[in-house]
């Protein structure tokens, strides 16, 4: 199995970990710089969350090794997590209502 030995070779190299670490630091730096731009708050939130989801994916895939586990593990864990988090936002319109109905 040439392919799998190559895989095993790549999954544990110091270089790969340093590379991922470097990207995580770079993305953090970009977030800090972004935070000091004059952007509309919704745009800022969307940008920061996109970058954070990328960082989280890097950590899960490489540091937590999920990319190299059987696909079924990720498919069991991740959709459930995303679904539950999405369901939490079901109450969110009430928050906006509170803002709009606040005493002037």
């Amino acid at each position: 199995m040439h392919e799998s030995s190559e895989h095993a070779h790549l999954e544990g190299t110091k270089r790969l970990f340093m590379f991922v670490w470097g990207w995580l630091l770079a993305l953090t730096l970009i977030e800090v710089v972004l935070a000091y731009r004059q952007l509309e708050i919704k745009v800022m939130l969307a940008l920061l969350m996109t970058l954070s989801v990328i960082k989280a994916s890097l950590i899960i895939s490489y540091f937590m090794h999920l990319r190299y586990e059987r696909r079924s593990l990720a498919l069991t864990l991740m959709p459930a997590l995303v679904f539950v988090i999405a369901m939490m936002f079901i109450v969110f319109p009430d928050s906006i209502r509170l803002y709009l109905m606040r005493p002037k």
Binding site: E31, A35, L48, A56, E69, L73, S95
Partner: protein, 212 residues
């Protein structure tokens, strides 16, 4: 029913789901840690959503973090990310059977965790000094204190527990009580604590910097 018999007959390709083994092909401890991580991720998500809820509803949310605070939180982020790198090196050493390497890398990781806690507690004390309490603060809506301290406090608790956990694993590894698998499972926990901070940092700090 013929097709069912054929699927279980001799020479049939065994499905990972036919029972008797782990369909995920991971040790039970690792699966257990993953399940814990998912449930803990839901806990933190609930706190972050609650924080977002009160903040959106608020007309006067405090934006107290000036540059020194943002710099402090950025350094904390760098420290935590670097401790994840040392952790991954520890797991690698464990797989190579290098027990001394594991202990060294785990101690470096714990040092990162302690440094993170020290920087964080210093910041907490600064905010308390300025008059931030759970239900009041000098700047705006009172829920700020409760949201901030609960969210970052639970995370700090996780970091502290992680430092103790890694200490136990390092000690057990040096005494040949723990295997590479135990080191890897503790690594999953540590990376998760790092991952949670990747959301707390932008949402709690960057979105509350004073010029925003």
């Amino acid at each position: 029913m013929a097709s069912l018999e054929a699927a279980s007959g001799p020479g049939a390709r065994e499905s990972a789901w036919s029972g008797g083994g782990s369909p995920y092909a991971v040790p039970s401890k690792k699966l257990g840690m993953w399940l814990f991580i998912v449930s803990d991720a839901i806990t933190f998500s609930a706190l972050l959503v609650a924080y977002a809820f009160v903040r959106v509803a608020s007309a006067n949310w405090p934006l107290p973090f000036e540059w020194p605070s943002i710099l402090n939180a950025s350094i904390m982020t760098g420290v935590l990310l670097s401790s994840s790198l040392t952790m991954v090196m520890g797991v690698r050493a464990a797989k190579l059977g290098d027990r001394g390497g594991v202990v060294g890398w785990l101690l470096a990781t714990m040092l990162g965790g302690v440094l993170f806690d020290v920087l964080h507690i210093r910041e907490w004390l600064g905010l308390i000094e300025e008059g931030v309490r759970l239900f009041k603060n000098p700047w705006g809506d009172p829920q700020f204190g409760a949201a901030f301290f609960t969210l970052t406090g639970l995370h700090m608790t996780h970091v502290t527990i992680g430092v103790v956990y890694l200490g136990v694993i390092a000690w057990g590894t040096s005494r040949r009580k723990y295997s590479a698998e135990d080191v890897e499972v503790s690594g999953l926990y540590w990376h998760f604590v790092d991952l949670v901070w990747m959301f707390i940092f932008p949402l709690v700090y960057l979105m509350s910097n004073k010029m925003a």
